[in-house]
Symmetry: C2
Subunit: 331 residues, 2 copies
């Protein structure tokens, strides 16, 4: 039998296990032009929270009683498709199923010899692309500038910081445990890191870590952490707004300091983006990430949880920061 | 004798007349290389409020007991400078004095035959440049898009709307009196306009005026008006943040809905700017504005108050919206 995870209820606030439902169905048979895929790794990502709500957006909402979908690495177990052979490994936006059919559309082959398969969900997947494109296309770092990254020990943040160092910047990360803070400095080469959960005055702490102010704030979290960073922005600062994980589960409208006076006073750019808008730049960006990885200039962290049936809980755990680096479910 | 207006106190909240002081001094004699200038028109602008506070900024604060300074049109009454003749008209960032010396630095000659002298403080001055550069360089309007302008009947807003129409956009203005709303539609060609003081649900009203959503929000005001517009932003919307007049006199930190979720969801750009950062583009922009003006495609409104001694009150009146178009003091 073949397990499938459906959206059972639309979450209100923090998602609960009961918002998801596991059902079983038969393993299907591929027809002509189809492949049968066996799921190996599932990417769980904060942005999926938005798709679970029923609000108008340009990415369509997940439907109730239909499978959740995210980036998945799978193995082709049977192929009746001319472009794939049994034994190929592929990446694609796929439903959360242990096994499934595909007509090949939207699948891209991945090479297990170039990097571990799970890296194609992180460093060499959407999160690496998000870090690379968000930082370089929107942040436009110049040597000697100061970059602050929130959610710094997360999948995107840890890569942003390393690219910032490659580009010769002073890089400061914000994370939520002492272990993450240590990891940012030891493994990822951040110049400094701040534990926002144990720091009483974040604005002061950021000021101390960024004596020349902040030129780029790569914002993964929104909320009070961002408020504190925004007060330190330099003239012409750039703020790629990648995510707002601290706000995704709010049931009431979140309020905070108005940003317009800061933007006007310092000619600041804020730019929300989703990486899928930059698909044309993917090949070049992936090639760059792979080259840095092979040269030992980029490393990555991943938190791998085993077991298909743990996928929903693993997604929920993103919001309490249980992950270091990319959060992945291994089947 | 020669009247001069000094900053007497740093304003707290809305500026008061007692924050300013008029003194008299002798009319000076120009030395070699100097001109004597007679002030004809003084520009009063919301951004001056920021310079009256003692906060760190890239534009230095005005000093206590020193003259306020803004864009002024003056006549050269005596010249000992090779580049100027008595009778020339000039524009420059100058102190609020009835008569004053200059070494010519920062003065530019203006042609009273090309346009009325006061127009060089508005349509053909910083406000016209702010509208033109903010809308075209940051807003990047495309034919058929929808532009919303706040502070629409003000100096910048009324020009933004007209340029939007020249570019083939659907243009909606927000202003604070029925007279201004009527003027926007009759004189400036806005497609629709909303009186925010008599409209109970601004978000609904904007939705009705912008059936295809908002692609560009040219923000002059900040605050609750902006909150209402931001909920209607389309994917890839651009928000040139030109000013935040509704917030300039706040004594406590202003709070409002957090913007990051909107920016992320719709890949929105917000860009604060001051026009002086774009000095390289001034000649081309002024030429374009003058060409449109001569072709009858651009008109302007100005509110002219007479009397040097009324300059401070005229500045204060900006914050209650007493002006239609550019607010100017005529000496």
């Amino acid at each position: 039998m073949n397990k499938v995870i459906l959206l059972n209820h639309r979450p209100v606030g923090l998602p609960q296990l009961t918002d998801f439902k596991i059902i079983e169905e038969n393993i299907p048979e591929p027809a002509d032009g189809e492949v049968l895929l066996q799921t190996l790794y599932i990417s769980v990502d904060p942005y999926l929270r938005g798709r679970m709500s029923d609000v108008k957006s340009y990415v369509p909402s997940f439907e109730l009683n239909k499978p959740i979908q995210s980036l998945i690495i799978a193995k082709v177990t049977t192929s009746h498709h001319p472009d794939f052979e049994a034994g190929d490994f592929v990446a694609g936006q796929l439903p959360w199923k242990e096994n499934q059919l595909s007509n090949g559309k939207g699948l891209s082959k991945v090479d297990p010899n170039a990097a571990p398969l799970s890296a194609y969900l992180g460093l060499l997947g959407m999160t690496g692309l998000t870090a690379q494109i968000g930082l370089t296309q929107i942040g436009k770092p110049k040597e000697g500038e100061t970059i602050v990254v929130s959610g710094a020990a997360g999948a995107v943040g840890s890569i942003v910081g390393q690219i910032g160092k490659i580009m010769g910047c002073h890089v400061v990360g914000i994370a939520g445990t002492d272990e993450k803070v240590a990891l940012l400095k030891s493994k990822f080469g951040f110049d400094d890191a701040i534990n926002y959960k144990t720091t009483t005055n974040m604005a002061d702490a950021i000021g101390k870590s960024c004596p020349n102010g902040v030129d780029i704030y790569f914002d993964n979290v929104g909320g009070e952490i961002s408020d504190a960073v925004m007060t330190h922005l330099n003239k012409y600062a750039r703020v790629p707004v990648c995510g707002a994980i601290s706000l995704y589960n709010n049931t009431a409208e979140a309020k905070g300091p108005r940003l317009q006076p800061i933007l006007v006073k310092n000619s600041v750019l804020m730019q929300g983006f989703i990486v899928s808008d930059h698909a044309k730049e993917f090949p070049e960006a992936i090639a760059q990430l792979l080259a840095w990885y092979k040269a030992g200039k980029l490393t990555y962290a991943e938190t791998i949880v085993e077991g298909f049936e743990n996928t929903s809980q693993t997604f929920i755990d993103l919001f309490s920061g249980k992950n270091e680096g990319k959060m992945i479910v291994k089947i």
